[in-house]
């Protein structure tokens, strides 16, 4: 009956009920990533994430360059949030080399990283809209994102890859009249942000597809070591800007957003509410910032780190982002490990998607605030 197979070729035994689906690796919204999903009818039986399509060896590359040369390539894993991914690197190198940062630079860093957090969150929200087939929700955040990109371009000269934060402060001072322009745009954006409520967060389309799906309990969120909005959506009050304040966050007025539901809706809502807090931080920082002064402590030529190690972390758009740097009296770091929120939240994916409807997969997946390029590094 059956024709004999050529040597070396095997046929996989196909189950009667279970079908295997490859979701990806070509991805419409972000970097490439594959989910190997087994479905029984419309229900997901198991999910095996397969990242690594955009692994670029950032950590290995960092071992070949000195502490200043490392700045521009280390922001590549997440170019929409480039200030926040450089922030812990700068803090770690400053601690390693014993550099003091001027007060004004600390405030400008906070402003830059909060503006960048909004850029990231708006991009994330735009893709969320696309994932759920809501094209207005793609257009609005993508348009409003330009406001912040313009501000960051005025600050640093580049639209997305700013390389603005450097060990010792920031690359250059703010342009003239930046404060007024920033306050005006943030005021406008806060009004605009309220309109998102009506079109997206009170939309029956979003609510029916996200409320009660992919529930992650508080215990599991802690046990799985999740971070960022995923953790705070499950009722854990943990934000490094409050818990381990770096630079001037302890002087600024803002609150941590926590929800107790732990479902996809809460995970989509928290980054949105945090944008209001970001606006508060920016306005408060502009008010409290010293109006003049140095913005950068110059490094020695080719600084060396000593026999030391340091672990520094900040709260990025996707959760805690840490750098572990080992140095050995050389101008280059001996080892750089980047611990990113996306990689830490990856473990939730098989856990949350099991038993879920296939139609809910996009909202659960994107609600985890997962950025493949950052996770692969």
């Amino acid at each position: 009956m059956t024709t004999p197979l050529p040597p070396g070729i095997q046929l996989e035994k196909v189950d009667d009920r279970i079908m295997t689906l490859n979701v990806g690796p070509q991805h419409p919204g972000s970097g490439h990533m594959r989910l190997i999903i087994k479905v029984d009818g419309d229900y997901i039986v198991s999910c095996d994430p397969d990242p690594g399509y955009v692994h670029r060896g950032e950590e290995k590359m960092a071992e070949y360059r000195n502490y200043v040369q490392n700045i521009p390539h280390l922001e590549r894993p997440v170019i929409h949030d480039s200030c926040n991914i450089l922030y812990p690197y700068c803090l770690a190198v400053e601690e390693l080399l014993g550099i003091e940062v001027p007060e004004r630079a600390k405030y400008i860093r906070v402003i830059a990283s909060e503006l960048n957090r909004c850029v990231y969150t708006l991009y994330w929200l735009a893709i969320y809209g696309i994932f759920l087939g809501h094209s207005t929700m793609f257009m609005w955040p993508a348009g409003d994102r330009e406001l912040f990109i313009d501000l960051l371009e005025a600050m640093s000269g580049a639209r997305v890859t700013h390389a603005y934060l450097v060990p010792g402060g920031i690359r250059n001072d703010l342009p003239a009249n930046f404060e007024e322009r920033c306050l005006r745009q943030v005021d406008y954006f806060e009004k605009r942000l309220k309109e998102y409520q009506a079109i997206f967060y009170k939309n029956p389309l979003l609510i029916s597809r996200t409320e009660g799906t992919g529930i992650l309990s508080r215990t599991d969120a802690i046990r799985l070591g999740t971070t960022g909005s995923v953790l705070r959506a499950s009722g854990v009050d943990f934000d490094l800007r409050k818990k381990e304040p770096y630079d001037v966050y302890e002087n600024l007025d803002f609150e941590t957003v926590v929800r107790k539901e732990g479902d996809s809706y809460a995970r989509s809502y928290i980054p949105y509410l945090e944008m209001f807090e970001s606006c508060r931080i920016i306005k408060d920082a502009i008010r409290k910032m010293p109006k003049s002064g140095s913005v950068r402590t110059k490094l020695k030529p080719n600084p060396k780190g000593g026999n030391d190690e340091v672990y520094k972390r900040v709260e990025s758009g996707r959760g805690s982002l840490g750098y572990y740097i080992v140095s050995n009296n050389r101008p280059e770091p001996y080892r750089v490990k980047i611990s990113v929120g996306s990689f830490r939240n990856l473990i939730c994916m098989p856990y949350l998607l099991k038993g879920e409807l296939l139609g809910n997969m996009p909202s659960v997946y994107w609600g985890l605030n997962y950025w493949p390029v950052e996770a692969d590094r």
Binding site: P51, G52, H55, G57, E59, K60, M61, Y64, E95, L97, G98, I222, R223, L224, G225, L231, V236, F238, K243, E244, S294, T297, K298, K300, P303, K304, G305, G306, N307, D308, E309, V310, Y311, R313, S320, G322, Y324, V326, Y334, R335, K337, S339, F343, R344, L346, I347, D376
Partner: protein, 214 residues
């Protein structure tokens, strides 16, 4: 190695020569550097710092339990480092979770030391449940033997997985296995994660794997 150290010394020698020749202008250049805000003072060296009270209470607790099996270092404020042998790491990890209150792993990093023929595996542990520990990251480190010609999964580069203690290490340990060749015994899923399926070279984050052209 020899050529590298020579390269390092060269600039300092030339600097010494120029110092002799232009000893008059030395003060002026120093002044101008001060004006520009360039700091030429020696590197901040690691000197013993007094241990703050809270850090001391944690390190005392763990030292009284395990004694000479472990080595507790105070690296800097709210960063304590515990080094242990790979045979004891499971007991120490259970103690850290149950008695000290650390509940999740933030990262698992390998650090390759070819000179001492060892690979160090470093766990960074944090706590969400205990508010007092929120700023603290505990570093738990152990060293595994390193083979000159690696054969990942089959050689002596192996240690006990901490997955049954900290569930969150699952993907981090998989990454450490493929990047350093450290096999984690008891890990349910020691497959490749980030590297391509057809990767046939040595684990790429080891020091003897060189980037092409470097």
């Amino acid at each position: 190695m020899g050529s590298e150290t020579e390269k390092d010394e060269q600039p300092s020698e030339t600097a010494a020569i120029s110092e002799d020749a232009e000893s008059v202008s030395k003060d002026e250049t120093k002044k101008s550097h001060e004006e520009q805000g360039i700091d030429f003072s020696p590197d901040s060296s690691v000197h013993p710092k007094p241990i703050p009270e809270f850090e001391k209470s944690i390190s005392d607790k763990i030292a009284s339990k395990f004694g000479s099996k472990i080595n507790v270092d105070y690296v800097r404020s709210s960063r304590i480092r515990i080094s242990t042998k790979k045979e004891d790491i499971l007991d120490v990890a259970f103690f850290i979770r149950d008695e000290l209150g650390y509940d999740h792993a933030e990262s698992v990093s390998g650090v390759d030391y070819p000179d001492s023929k060892e690979i160090e595996v470093v766990y960074h542990l944090g706590s969400y449940t205990d508010d007092k520990l929120a700023t603290h990251v505990l570093t738990l480190a152990t060293r595994v033997p390193r083979e000159e010609i690696p054969n990942p999964g089959k050689d002596s580069t192996r240690m006990t997985s901490l997955r049954e203690v900290f569930y969150s290490v699952e993907f981090h340990e998989r990454e450490c296995f493929e990047m350093f060749g450290v096999y984690f015994e008891g890990h349910p899923d020691n497959r490749r994660l980030l590297l391509p399926e057809d990767w046939a070279d040595i684990p790429p984050f080891r020091k003897d794997f060189k980037i092409k052209g470097r």
